[in-house]
Amino acid sequence: VEGSEDIDSPKFSQIDTILEKTYYNVDTHSPETLDWFNVLIAQTIQQFREEALQKDNIVHSLNDFVSRRSEELPQYLDTIKITELDIGEDFPIFSNCRIQYSPNSNKQRLEAKIDIDLSDRLALGIETKLLINYPKTFAAALPVQLTVSVVRFQACLTVSLTSAEEFTSTAEDGASYETDNGSGYFLMFSFSPEYRLEFDIESLIGARSKLQNIPKIGSLIEYQIKKWFVERCVEPRFQFIKLPSLWPRSKNTREEKPENDDMSMK
């Protein structure tokens, strides 16, 4: 469906030149491993985990966050307490990276397709109460303990760098990037719909007499998480993140001190 009417447009020839001068033929170039990238990402994640473990601060800050926002919880939920947080010990593996023209873009845009595979245990445990507000507010409460873990994630990631023009925000409040920071480049990523996301969900429901690991609860939570995920970053939805300026500035300049290099993530 690659349209021919735009084939002479400046954008197309720009892309054509880029591909030519980077020795990349979209049709014949073989997929690359991203081993170097995996190492850097793993290093960043490792550092993040260490900080989190040393200060034990994620659970606290999450709990603070949740209690600060407890006003916004739906009526049927009591305050939420975070009981467990497992940030995993494995790293995502990116592989099979190739550049292609974005579908439906009339060869106006390039994107990278990357396979991602993560086998780990990323878990969040919470404790709360389901409040029954009938016939009166707080008439009854049902204690609920939940541990939700992601154990496997496999997907094909699409990444591209683009300017904002061609896309609209899905947020309804009109919070748009176009108003204040519409210029510049954006990192755009999305997962293909054929992703695989596996959960391990444990539930314990009830006060003195408890029900354990009810399948219905598991499927309910899985549905909600997948819904959240699909609505944000599964095609045709994209995540759109403004890139910071990489122009060398004195305020960004540092000198040697035993710190790891990291320029890929925060």
Binding site: K129, I132, Y134, P135, K136, F138, A139, A140, A141, L142, P143, I205, G206, A207, R208, S209, K210, L211, I214, K216, I217, S219, L220, Y223, Q224
Partner: protein, 282 residues
Amino acid sequence: MSFEINWEDVGEDPVINNSIKAFLNSQLQAIALPSYVNSLQVTNFRLGHIPPKITLREITDPLSEFYEHIASESEGTKPKEHLRKHSTDGSDGQDQVDDDEEEEALNAGKDGFEPEPKPTSNPSDMQFLVEVDYKGDMTIEVNAELALNYPSPSFMSLPVKLSITDLGVHVLCLVAYLSKQLFISFLCDVADPVLDARESITDSGSSAFLGKKSLERISLIRSIKIESEIGEQNDVEGSVLRSVGKLEQFLLEVFKTIVKVEAAWPSWINLDFNEDDSDQEE
């Protein structure tokens, strides 16, 4: 016991007690009274201080009967009205309306315009199977006008005050929540032999598990006490006492019938929360 019940707030709440009283009275209106009773009215209802013990036994998807009920309700009312309205004001808007209806049916999972076998279920619909164990101090006070038909018909009428206490039930109960409606239905006594045959009471996925004839099951009410009070001077009269005994018996039957007909499977109590609709759901 799975639920922590905040009974202090509920049991003595005048609003709740009065609304139950009103419900019982509306039920009594519909009942044909025997010749020896002129009027029957609930004058006081108190839930009392002792809460029921509620234990969660299963959490599943709601039974198909509840969806069928919602489907038949909406078929019977809304869409037909739409049709009628638009067939009178010209044919232009007709197709438009049909599309809207269909879209609505897809979005809301109900209000089906096309005859659908089942309304679409929402993954967040849920059904609890709970065990309710109640041996509390609920009291119901009933005023009756007793007609004495001896020695002649309607010889005199006597005001009688009856009190119903010591209600004991230990039943399995379904509580389903779907499409912003709550369904409560009493299934059977926990000692009912119908339960012995199966591991899970709802695993068949349909109502077949209990049959529709409620009479074949053990009564849902395990114990109940009815006492009557009439003017002292008549206490010695055997005929009066006999009629009062009959009245007590009658009231007992009335009470059991209300529970059976209104709240026991295949009937249910349906609470609709759609009025306070806030369309935004995250």
